[in-house]
């Protein structure tokens, strides 16, 4: 942003708008007249040489709890000035605290037309493999996180971010920051951390072998380290390798109407315009921790509400747990249980 100052000065010099940088101020021009330091002074580390593309898969050494690196990572996460023309930051998609805005994006590295739900990255360090398709899986969680970042924003930043690659230090700092983001914990349990009656009923259903949730989402609520994921990929009937190249199962966020009406589904006028195509049918089992805070669900955001993940409306029947025999009350209890994780 230091170069930003120059840019503003230049634009002002061209008379485009009325800002002049400190040093050449005109009377009446809004300007910073004082800075009150209310905490330790802090400056970002120098940006250093960016990684070149072949080097991106270089594994960055990590130092998880070096707090200056965490802070630098947090800064980069929220900084738009490294992006071409200052459009947006990681926080625009992942929210300022590493949660998610729940938006689906076509980032393209698994084939264009394959929209993916922005991942909730809190607690992410616990859970390789990364990305919905799990293709950056690696038994070493750190390497997983690193390569996941490579793929999101390091492999070819020109694509998504129109920016230079990160330097190894910046990449390391981003990883430190993400690793420092803990799960937050549910506001829906009793104040002492115990489960409500509905949640207890839901827990029973969750662990019922006839329903089968625990097969892929194993975990014990009293264990603070439980992740409720087997860290494997499965076909749970959510992949949409659909008719004529388009997904065949309408999820609530997909605009099949536009398609049927013969309109351009990518057109800006469409209210909910996303139609995606999956190249695979197997997806990474996500953790269910903090599920109450992780926005729309499934790899493509097709499940708007928690109930949609289990009521067979956006996935093939009984492929994602066996739930079609459950009563409405039992389904609701299951949702209450999920909210408590």
């Amino acid at each position: 942003m230091r170069s930003g100052i120059k840019k503003i000065g230049l634009v002002a010099a061209l008379g485009l708008f009325g800002v002049v940088t400190t040093g050449q101020l005109m009377a009446g021009t809004p300007q910073v007249v004082a800075t009150i330091q209310t905490g330790p002074e802090w400056e970002p580390l120098p940006r250093a040489e960016p990684l070149t593309v072949p080097e991106v898969h270089y594994r960055v050494k990590h130092s998880p709890y070096k707090s200056e690196l965490v802070r630098y990572g947090q800064f980069q996460f929220n900084d738009a000035s490294w992006n071409l023309q200052g459009e947006y930051s990681c926080a625009s998609c992942h929210y300022e605290r590493g949660q998610t805005t729940g938006l689906i994006w076509d980032l393209g590295d698994e084939g264009w037309g394959s929209w993916k739900n922005t991942k909730y990255i809190r607690g992410g360090r616990y859970l390789p493999p990364f990305r919905h398709e799990g293709f950056t899986g690696h038994p070493d969680e750190i390497v997983g996180a690193t390569s996941s970042l490579d793929r999101v924003c390091g492999r070819d930043p020109g694509f998504v971010f129109r920016s230079e690659n990160f330097s190894p230090l910046r990449l390391e700092a981003l990883i430190c920051y993400i690793r420092a983001l803990e799960f937050t914990g549910s506001p829906f349990r009793n104040a002492d951390g115990s489960l409500s009656d509905a949640q207890k009923r839901g827990e029973k259903i969750f662990n019922d072998p006839n329903v089968g949730c625990a097969e892929c989402h194993p975990g014990d609520v009293s264990d603070p380290k439980a992740l409720f994921s087997d860290a494997q990929t499965h076909d749970v009937g959510t992949g949409r390798v659909g008719v004529k190249g388009f997904r065949s199962t309408p999820g609530k966020v997909f605009n099949l109407k536009a398609l049927e009406a013969g309109e351009d589904p990518y057109g800006e006028e469409s209210d909910t315009p996303i139609i995606g195509l999956d190249l695979v049918k197997e997806f990474d089992t996500p953790t269910l921790r903090d599920i109450y805070a992780s926005g729309t669900y499934f790899h493509d955001g097709s499940a708007r509400l928690l109930i949609d993940t289990i009521n067979n409306t956006v996935n093939d029947k009984d492929m994602h747990g066996r739930t079609s025999h459950l009563t409405a009350q039992e389904m609701q209890d299951l949702v209450e249980f999920l909210k408590a994780l």
């Binding site: 910073v32 009150i36 209310t38 970002p44 800064f75 200052g86 625009s92």
Partner: protein, 376 residues
């Protein structure tokens, strides 16, 4: 420390020493491990003499004497304070502890927390009525939709008002005190909404959608009560990102909404070609409504707009004409007064009561930029 049993072992010591009662949540105290305070929100006392700064990572409120520009005190509150509001008599500061799901009440004279009030999930916005009797707290949890109402005298939560969608991020009270304007930053939605709520009945009287919007961050009424302004970002996620050209991954905008029922929603650009206002956050407007100040968190500056010119655009164009303006990368010059470079990460701005100074809380540089405004 009841309420922390479950994750107790994982909670870092620094948080435990912050203290306080548990909120709606049962696990508190998970946050970024950093020793730096991270000023996230700033507000002034009604006389403008003191600035109150919520330190999101430092879990405290810093007091600054606005005249001497010296730090005069620091009070520990709950975890991750993200907003505060002062009673008009200058006696109490109500602070939203986002992660603790509570509101701390600071007795200003004693510089001490005198009460911690449990509220809904992730309180991140608060306003107090002119008579000082009521505080409205926006609880912005991803599966939460309440504005919790606090009786400031009793320091108790009295009821909850329900918004139409999840994630009410913050609110403003209309100048006549009759209506709340609430922004719902609803996860997953690309058409996020503003709710107008009747204070007496506690009902949503109108839900107005800002089409193609995400990341709603602040809302403010114009002094005449006829408009509200909202900061937000437009995600252009209907396109594969390879097709994104200028202004097609995200644009950064304000929305100006007529407050009358069914009124216009003008979505106006803050961006210029090669000079975008990445991540617009907090808002402030001077008492005469002449200028709008926007903290641009991602680009480390405060953008100042001429509100008279902004409103001329809104009044002079029909809704369909307005709809064309959002992506016009030349248009901001119609109403841009200045972009003032500040410290790093200005998330919140406020004004001195005479409107002559704008204060920006800089999250990353741990300081406050004092900006002399165009008001004379």
């Amino acid at each position: 420390m009841k309420g922390r049993v479950w994750l107790g072992a994982a909670v870092v010591g620094a948080v435990l020493s912050v203290g306080g009662v548990s909120g709606a949540g049962f696990i508190q105290g998970t946050h970024v491990k950093t020793d730096l305070p991270g000023p996230f929100h700033i507000t002034t006392s009604p006389d403008g003499g003191t600035l109150y700064i919520c330190n999101q990572s430092g879990h405290s409120v810093t007091f600054v004497d606005a005249r001497t520009q010296k730090v005069t005190g620091e009070v520990s509150v709950g975890v991750q304070p993200e907003a505060s509001a002062m009673t008009p008599d200058n006696a109490f500061l109500f602070v939203c502890n986002a992660e603790s799901d509570s509101v701390s009440v600071i007795d200003i004279a004693r510089k001490q927390v005198v009460k911690e009030i449990k509220v809904g999930d992730w309180p991140s916005g608060i306003r107090i009525t002119k008579d000082g009797r009521t505080a409205y707290v926006a609880c912005s949890g991803c599966m939460w939709n309440t504005i919790d109402v606090i009786d400031t005298g009793k320091m108790e939560k009295t009821r909850s008002i329900y918004t139409s969608d999840y994630g009410p991020r913050t609110l403003d009270i209309s100048p006549d005190g009759k209506t709340l304007a609430v922004i719902n930053d609803t996860v997953g939605s690309i058409n996020r909404s503003v709710n107008f709520i009747d204070v007496d009945t506690g009902r949503v009287t109108e839900k107005r959608v800002i089409r193609e919007s995400a990341n709603l961050r602040d809302v403010i009424y114009t002094p005449d009560g006829q408009y509200v302004v909202v900061t937000y970002e437009t995600p252009k996620n209907w396109l594969p990102v390879c097709e994104a050209e200028n202004g097609q991954v995200f644009t950064n905008n304000i929305a100006v909404l007529e407050t009358k029922a069914g009124g216009k929603v003008a979505r106006l650009p803050l961006d210029e070609l090669n000079n975008y206002d990445g991540n617009p956050y907090g808002l402030a407007m001077d008492p005469k409504g002449r200028y709008l100040y926007i903290g641009i968190r991602g680009m480390h500056r405060v953008t100042i707009l001429d509100m008279g010119k902004v409103l001329n655009v809104v009044r002079g164009n029909s809704q369909s004409e307005l709809d064309y303006l959002r992506d016009d990368l030349g248009f901001v010059r119609e109403y841009l007064v200045a972009r003032v470079t500040t410290g790093l990460g200005p998330s919140s701005v406020c004004l001195s009561p005479d409107g002559k100074y704008c204060y920006a809380a800089n999250y990353f540089s741990n300081n406050v930029s004092v900006i002399r405004t165009p008001v004379d």
